[in-house]
């Protein structure tokens, strides 16, 4: 395809591409957000309570091993088609890196620091909020980064159950045997993943300095 043909192709899809990107961002953003809301407390629980550690890490690990299409197929009879099952599946995938990194980040803090906080009379809550979570933040952010990037990739598949997003191009391209459309979906998703990874990397570095 010549340069001008590419420009023309992109121009004819610009509005739709914007809309699909927004859908894609919503799918990834909402699911990652939910996974943070769920995974952060779970990670803290796992770090503090060795009894639930094995089972919780096991269960969130299992989600990750289910092939994405199979997961969507499983959720179909339960939640139907569309946005909701897609968000559910994406959230379950995002859970593992966030829970595991929260746990790893908390477990990796120097024992002397934890002991000093306890010895100075911090309550458990003060210790968690003032010392442990801030010190674990770089590792937690790394987990969120992984979750978001995986999310962008898997979100392309949710198009199969009618949740929209950039996967729609891939789907349509496959149905119409149109490589350009497949590439448009795949490349846009890849670029989106890179941008999100880069931005979260910046956030991580900013928080480390703060």
């Amino acid at each position: 395809m010549s340069e001008s043909a590419l420009a023309l192709f992109l121009a004819s899809h610009a509005t739709e591409l914007g809309q699909k990107t927004v859908e894609h961002l919503l799918l990834t953003g909402i699911s990652t957000g939910l996974a943070i809301g769920l995974g952060l407390p779970l990670g803290v629980l796992v770090a503090k309570n060795s009894l639930v550690r094995g089972p919780v890490l096991g269960i969130v690990g299992v989600f990750q091993t289910i092939p994405s299409l199979a997961m969507l197929a499983f959720l179909l009879p339960l939640l139907g088609i569309g946005f909701k099952p897609a968000i559910t599946a994406l959230t379950l995938y995002a859970l593992l890196p966030i829970v595991r990194n929260t746990y790893t980040g908390l477990a990796g803090i120097d024992r002397d620091i934890i002991e000093a906080a306890a010895g100075l009379g911090f309550t458990e809550r003060q210790k968690l909020l003032l010392i442990e979570l801030p010190l674990a933040t770089p590792v937690i952010i790394a987990g969120i980064r992984t979750a978001a990037v995986i999310g962008v990739g898997i979100a392309t598949l949710s198009s199969f159950i009618g949740a929209g997003g950039l996967g729609d191009y891939i789907n349509r391209g496959l149905a119409m045997n149109n490589t350009q459309l497949i590439l448009l979906g795949a490349c846009s998703a890849a670029i989106l993943a890179l941008i999100i990874d880069f931005l979260l990397g910046l956030l991580g570095r900013a928080l480390r300095k703060a």
């Binding site: 120097d110 024992r111 002397d112 620091i113 934890i114 002991e115 000093a116 906080a117 306890a118 010895g119 100075l120 009379g121 911090f122 309550t123 003060q126 003032l130 010392i131 801030p134 010190l135």
Partner: protein, 253 residues
Amino acid sequence: MIRMQQVSKTFDHGQTFAVQEVNLEVADGETLVLLGTSGCGKTTTLKMINRLVEPSSGIIEVDGRNVMDCPLQKLRRNIGYAFQGVGLFPHFTVGENITIGLRLDGRPKKERLARAREMLALVALEEEFIDRYPHQLSGGQQQRVGVARALAGAPKNLLMDEPFGALDAITRDTLQKEYLKLQRELNKTVIFVTHDIIEALTVADRIAVMHAGRIEQVGSKTEILQQPATDFVRHLFAKPAEQLRDYWEAMHE
């Protein structure tokens, strides 16, 4: 006042004792030095007083109250503790580290700043350290910040676990003198852990010699030096002189 009665601690269900049948009494305003070799149970003894370690048996009282009956946070906030591992918070500045206790108490920022300055001067650190982060300090400087943090809440009781361990002889001497001056003003009840005999003799009102989890002897400096109760105590104090003599002999051979 700090009192320990028949206090023991085992980490392995009674097979070995890190601390065994310890009896100690530290009067108000007194500095008791806990002196002993590595692994003899000094840190474990200190940690039991503010319940970082729960005793296996025995009774510990601080200011007449059984520590097991005190609310945990309240007990710890009333005891200053300079930890052997220092344990400064790496994401807080020196100033924030020193005054973290005041922050937990909700004291205003201005007061905390003034307090941090005051404490820095006390441990002979320049004021510009206040905005540095712990990793920008030498080991000995970090240790002094740890001492400043222990003192900042103006606690009546103080536990100091080898607070000057990482310092050279000269700085150590300065701080020991500073400590004595301070102690005359502030009159805190202190347990001071060290394995340095000279340091023990410098800062102590009384010395407790510890060996293999047990207290071998408690007494004034004169008592310990002139009437050592056990071979271990005699040996402990004779050792440096012996080493010095050996050294001289080797040099003049």
